[in-house]
């Protein structure tokens, strides 16, 4: 290997000395000699290229060192020409054959797209990088039919979840398998400092993949595509292929980006009423020192300052107008807390090779700051990929990827130590910034600490000031990760090939979280977590490829896989801190330590068998058998299998040269994939005793009182579990019309997931609260439509459209006998649940009593009546999602926009409910003096006509509409999240050869990108693309979630 280093080092120093170049010209025509207007010519491996003009002619400056031109045109086969002595290259492109696109399928096999009987969809590197997303998942949003991506919030390094063809499993993860260069990698989101509903949002680990390293992403959607992966790809698979070197002189690419982020949407607040509540029938101002939570005080216009010495406001206390110093009271805007975040992203790579060895080496650094002061995220990655042909028969490749990532995260969600809780509840008459804004306010302790050392916040430290959160409740994480793989292939004959591949994904994550001493309120806490996860996957496979007869082709791959995962977490939580501002475990007085060890092994044997008849009829059969350590000993094996058929009828009928429909293929497939059980679910255990049973306060954890104690776990073990099974059939077709200018890919699928392994809630009166059992059946049916078109090609101008449409109907068909409801995530008052006959994840919570025909039942006092029973309140599943990309290019200039449309889907705006309760929403000010008659009927069936005042001080706070039903009433806060958003808008410019000619650059591109620039939605909270519970199975919940962002970025990309 030593030999390798020298050329690589040389490469790094020799950059850019060559600048001589040649001019190549010619014409591009079809087989009939007609000019192909708009056909493109690219210098391979560079951004240098041009398009053919009206007579099909082109002229191109080819940089020195490059000698391969790539000719392509929609609907025609691509051709690569190696330059010889001549500078004139006339080329004839053949129709149709371009459809032989190579895609990566399960276990890293390559297949010709036309031979597949199921749908797969590719997203190429350009589309991923162009979205300027830190998190790879977000870069897929709107680009793949059948795929939905939800980012939980806009914090730097925030998590995202991805679903392929909807949710299929109640109890297990619904996240697809991620595979990088044949190696499955971990994409879990591990909550430590807090829970899924409160605490700190962590990254999902796919964030460690640098989008700049990706050559392409293939999405395998259904069991037919993924059966070879078996259980691990029960929810589909995201197959990532990274960039590899190509034979040729070293090429260096450098990309630099700068982005600015700002908050894109926040709930509307009132600025008319002061902090306070009615006392003795009259709203009075009660200042922060009273810890008053409500803003149901007097009108701000009726108040003035008294000029007294007052720690919470330099102008003094508030008194009725006319009794103070004449300085009118005012409302402050707490949203000045948010600042602009920014991101620097720098990437460099060098690639090249000779006939024996190709290399690709890259490094990247991304550094982001958040829209909330002090929040940040950083990712540094290095990658090396080597491919070598050691002999005619033996080839080997190896790749290694090191990532260091992590950041400073802020508390969020249901959590009095969170940013949004203290910020949104803040009363209009308290200036949280103390005269300053954003980072400047955050950097001045006087903003959030009073001279006596206690906290400066609108409730005197009951809820933390967001500025306190930014400084005093730190949570950091630092991941060190290595993803490496090695494979070797030996070609026995030209039709038998043996491959061995081993991949390791190992990371450690060191996390430190703390809540500083909040004098008079809390004695502080330090939480340390050390996490280590190691996934090892080995495959040994043999591929046979031989035609059975001249017309019947056959190929097959048979192999075995061994997978093991080993997760370890050590936690130490220390309470009662001794010194402030010191966030180390040694500062704690009481320390509790814990550890978690999760291990699993999975063995699989698999085979895939492909037959084709005359290159137009394709049959694929696959089978896999898995053995899993998490299943009961006597029943630990299960099977996945599939069959698919593809029929290219245009080829069968000899229509390839038709201009109307040169290509058409029909597909049909059927597949079954299993899913195993959670670990340790087969037996009962005794764990450390916890004293709890009160949702408002913390537990007592043994050891305590000088002894240890154990209790039988509340989860009942089950050694009778059988594997889950998802069966899918799909029908579809791909069509190319008008010489390929118009394309349509339609898929209908229907999947049924049975024997769902669910942690089923038991009546606690059994002595257990849950049991893992097979209990449930969910169906997903849906349409996936991909449409692409090139409506206009005129000279140098072209217009391309691509649209992805997804509509999924999801139904929970049945749950186990006697179970009518299983909670997925949320709070006892409002949850995302599964209920038979309903879509997955419906929102369920407190609602009003209604008559059989849906009218509200109104009490004799004129108020709607809260039902003692919980109800289904909304369905968070969208009716459809549609992503439409329009690209316009003229010479080197490209304008591209991705419009994202989501129709339907409800969300519980818990944030809105609590803000209404406290009287800080705009709504609560607008309706404050209203007297209304609620639509509905009284108990005797009469139409209600009793008026009620929504906020009558004389009746007391407990009688207010927004207070009387409790702490944010679920039914009042269910909203439709339909949206229309401009997810991406990019303007990019490839510098022409005329400019580059005199430099050492082979290519240069400058682009300006806007993300989320425009959003239209009726949802009253933050951007409705949000999810409190991160990548968990529950969704449709918004409770003091961090806001989302929009961003503007500029990128320069240079090729040497």
């Amino acid at each position: 290997m030593k030999k390798l280093y020298l050329p690589l080092l040389l490469v790094l120093f020799v950059v850019g000395f060559a600048s001589a170049q040649r001019t190549v010209s010619g014409t591009i025509t079809d087989t009939e000699g007609e000019p192909l207007i708009g056909a493109s010519v690219l210098v391979q491996g560079t951004g240098v290229g041009t398009v053919a003009d009206f007579d099909g002619s082109y002229t191109l400056e080819v940089p020195e060192g490059s000698n391969v031109l790539v000719f392509s045109f929609t609907g025609y086969a691509q051709q690569e020409i190696t330059l010889g002595a001549s500078n004139v290259i006339d080329i004839t492109l053949e129709e149709g054959v371009e459809l032989g696109e190579v895609v990566i399928t399960a276990i890293g096999l390559e297949a010709n797209r036309r031979s597949l009987g199921y749908t797969v969809q590719n997203v190429d590197a350009g589309d991923i990088v162009a979205s300027k997303e830190t998190n790879l998942l977000n870069a897929l949003s709107g680009k793949v039919a059948g795929v939905t991506v939800t980012s939980s919030n806009g914090s730097p390094g925030g998590s995202s979840s991805i679903r392929i063809r909807g949710n299929t499993s109640i109890g297990r993860s619904n996240s697809p398998l991620f595979v990088v260069d044949g190696v499955p990698i971990d994409n879990s989101e591990i909550f430590t400092n807090g829970t899924s509903t409160g605490g700190v949002d962590q990254s999902n680990r796919a964030i460690d993949i640098n989008p700049n390293d990706i050559a392409s992403v293939t999405v395998l959607k259904g069991p037919s595509a993924t059966a070879l992966y078996g259980v691990r790809a029960a929810n589909g698979a995201i197959i990532i292929t990274t960039k590899a070197g190509k034979e040729g002189k070293p090429q260096i690419d450098i990309t630099a980006r700068y982005s600015v982020d700002e908050v894109n949407k926040l709930p509307a607040r009132q600025s008319l009423y002061a902090q306070g509540r009615p006392v003795g029938g009259v709203p009075i101002w009660r200042g922060p020192e009273t810890a008053e939570g409500f803003s149901w005080g007097p009108a701000i216009a009726d108040l003035e300052f008294d000029g007294s010495e007052y720690a919470y406001d330099q102008n003094g206390r508030l008194v009725p107008a006319g009794t103070g110093n004449g300085l009118p009271a005012r409302a402050y805007d707490p949203y000045t807390y948010f600042k602009n975040g920014n991101t620097y992203d720098l990437n460099a790579s060098v690639s090249g090779g000779n006939e024996f060895m190709r290399y690709f080496i890259s490094g990247g650094n991304l550094s982001s700051t958040g829209t909330a002061p002090n929040a940040d995220f950083e990712r540094t990655s290095f990658r090396v990929k080597l491919d070598s042909d050691l002999s005619d028969k033996l080839s080997a490749s190896m790749s290694a990827n090191y990532i260091n990532s992590g950041g400073f995260r802020l508390q969020r969600g249901s959590n009095v130590q969170g940013v949004m809780l203290g910020l949104l509840r803040n009363t209009p008459t308290f200036d949280i910034g103390n005269g300053k804004e954003g980072q400047e306010a955050a950097d001045d302790p006087a903003t959030y600490v009073l001279p006596d050392g206690s906290q400066r916040s609108y409730r005197a430290g009951v809820y933390d000031s967001p500025y306190w959160v930014s400084n005093k409740n730190p949570s950091t994480d630092r991941v060190n990760r290595i993803i490496g793989s090695t494979s070797a292939s030996y070609k026995f004959t030209d039709w038998v090939n043996l491959t061995y591949r081993v991949g390791i994904d190992h990371y450690t994550d060191r996390r430190n979280g703390a809540l500083d001493i909040n004098p008079g309120r809390s004695d502080g806490l330090v939480e340390q977590n050390f996490i280590s996860n190691t996934d090892i996957s080995q495959d040994l496979l043999v591929t046979v490829s031989k035609n059975i007869s001249p017309k019947i082709g056959f190929s097959s791959t048979v192999g075995g896989n061994a997978f093991s995962t080993d997760y370890y977490r050590h936690n130490a939580t220390g309470t009662t801190l001794s010194a402030p501002n010191f966030y180390h475990i040694s500062n704690a007085t009481d320390i509790v330590a814990d550890e978690i060890v999760n291990r699993k092994k999975l063995y699989g044997v698999y085979g895939t068998f492909d037959f084709n008849y005359d290159e137009y009829l394709f049959l694929n059969l696959t089978a896999r058998n898995d053995w899993s350590s998490s299943l009961p000993k006597d029943n630990n094996t299960f099977q996945s299998y599939s069959a698919s058929l593809g029929f290219a009828f245009t080829d069968a009928l000899g229509l390839q040269n038709s201009t109307v429909l040169p290509y058409g293929k029909l597909r049909a497939s059927y597949g079954v994939v299993g899913n195993d059980a959670p670990i340790y679910a087969t037996s009962n255990y005794f764990g450390g005793a916890l004293i709890g049973g009160d949702g408002f306060i913390t537990t007592i954890q043994f050891p305590a009182y000088g002894t240890n104690a154990f209790e039988r776990n509340v989860g009942l073990g089950n050694d009778q579990i059988v594997p889950e099974k998802t069966t899918t059939w799909e029908l579809g077709g791909e069509f190319k019309f008008l010489r390929g200018r118009l394309g349509l890919d339609v898929t209908y699928f229907s999947s049924t997931s049975e024997d769902q392994i669910i942690s089923v809630q038991l009546p606690a009166s059994t002595g257990f609260t849950s049991v893992v059992q097979n209990a449930g059946k969910i169906t997903n049916k849906g349409w996936e439509i991909i449409f692409d078109a090139t409506p206009v090609v005129a000279g140098d101008f072209s217009w391309d459209v691509q649209a992805n449409f997804t509509a999924i109907e999801n139904t929970v068909e049945e749950l186990a006998e006697g179970i009518d409801n299983i909670g997925l995530a949320g709070f006892t008052s409002t949850q995302s649940v599964v209920i038979p006959g309903q879509p997955y994840g419906v929102i369920w919570g407190d609602g009003f009593e209604r008559t059989d025909n849906g009218d509200l039942v109104i009490g004799a006092d004129g108020w709607p009546i809260a039902s003692p029973d919980k109800q289904i309140l909304g369905d968070p599943n969208p009716d459809f999602v549609l992503g439409i990309r329009n690209s316009f290019s003229y010479k080197g200039l490209t304008l591209s926009g991705l419009l994202d449309i989501r129709q339907g889907g409800d969300m519980w705006c818990g944030t809105c409910g609590i803000m209404n309760y406290f009287g800080v929403t705009e709504q609560s000010a607008l309706e404050r003096n209203d007297v209304v008659v609620f639509d509905g009927v009284t108990a005797d069936g009469q139409v209600n006509n009793t008026p009620v005042a929504l906020a009558d001080p004389a009746a007391g706070l407990g009688a207010y509409y927004r207070v009387r039903y409790g702490f944010g009433y679920s039914e009042m806060e269910i909203y439709d999240t339909s949206w229309l958003r401009l997810r991406e808008l990019t303007l990019s410019y490839n510098l022409p050869d005329a400019v580059l000619g005199s430099t050492f650059l082979k290519g240069a591109t400058i682009s300006l990108t806007g993300r989320n620039l425009w959003l239209k939605t009726d949802y009253p909270g933050v951007d409705p693309e949000t999810n409190l519970t991160g990548s968990s199975n529950g969704f449709g919940l918004d409770y003091f979630n961090q806001p989302n962002t929009k961003s503007y970025s500029a990128t320069v990309q240079l090729t040497f």
């Binding site: 009951v462 046979v544 009003f848």
Partner: protein, 459 residues
Amino acid sequence: MKYLSYILIITVLLFSACSEETFEELNTDPTQLSDVEMRLILPEILTQAAYNKGATPGRMAGIVMQQFEGFDAQQVAYTSYVIGSDAFNNYWNTGMYAGLLRSCQVLNDKAAEEGSTFYSGVAKTIMASEYGLLTSFFGNIPFSEALKGTENLKPSYDTQESVYNGVLAMLDQAISDLGSGTGYAGGDLIFDGDAAKWIATARALKARYQMHLQKRNGSAASDALSSISGAFTSLADQPTFNFGSAQIDNWSLGKFGLERPNTLVIANTFAERMDGDPRQGKYMVTDGTTWFYWENGNAELVWSVNNAAIPLISYVEVKFLEAEALARTGSDPSAALAEAITASMQQVGLAEADYADYVAANSDVSGLGMEEQVQKIIEEAYKGYYGYNFSESWSNFRRTGYPALTPDPNGSNGFNPSGGIPKRFPYVVGEAQTNADNLEAARAAQGGALLDVPVWAFE
């Protein structure tokens, strides 16, 4: 196809090479135990029993009985009786059935297997006591079919009458077990294995639940007096649990003060009632407008400090029970009442000089009729139970109507249509989700189970 057999052979070798542990070993959690000793089960039971007194049921009874009132958030809703099926879900699930009661059952079963009458006696004592509280809160509850795991995944609800009978029978069994009291090996955080003291505790508990049945059983008072004759006779001998002073082992009411500040405060009417009472400064502190039950670091507030000493049943209660039983059986309760009030004063750390006048002025009821005597006793118990025994103030109120309280003016709602002071706690959402048929049957058997429907014993 010969390569296929090669690959299978190689695959098998590959797997066996990397598999030093069997699947079964791998799927065994190394961080947990499959069985534990009894001495390691008991501490949880005792701690949870004490913790519950300041947790949801304690605080809610305090709100309903107008000793507390909500100042913010959920507690405001509770104050106007918006008490839904969420409110007690955690308490019912992990506090009781799959918590304390589960561990009592595990301990009792283990003790029976291993022949330790000490552990079975203590397990039964606590289990009976907690079932008694549970039925007083909810009426009909799962009892005879409860805690059987896979044997019965849908336990039905027993009538309150049969639960109370079961509780009293279980206490008798406990007393019998503790009579031999063998096999103690540690874990008794309250009496360190002193079986006699547990017997005295069980007898005191019997008296409590016998008096719960006073409206249903003509001999309740004399039964109670007979039980009290074997109960403990001093504050020193009552079963007291001592909490720690840190946020990880502190008393639940102290936790609530620290972790949910300013959401719950002392009700003004209770503060007024305590004006001039020597205990007022031990119960509450004011900023001039609002009375607080908790203040960070204020060691005077004995019922909200972190390291509170919480009796599972107090000598104060024994004496109040005795006073009421004496009154109801036609004897003069004055001496017992004086002793009850005195014990209450001593329990919060007051000296005789502080309370002698108050006791003298409030304990002589010899000249009153039976009903007036009972009223005085229950009103004094209302003050004497504050902070650690909210549930019994509420039981007393539901049984006797004392002290007279005015319902919250906004107290009529879907959970409490008639708007009066709640007569029971609502069943929990977890049972509605998982045991709906049995729950519905229980509701039907009691003529409904909204907050304004009385439970059988107190009807």
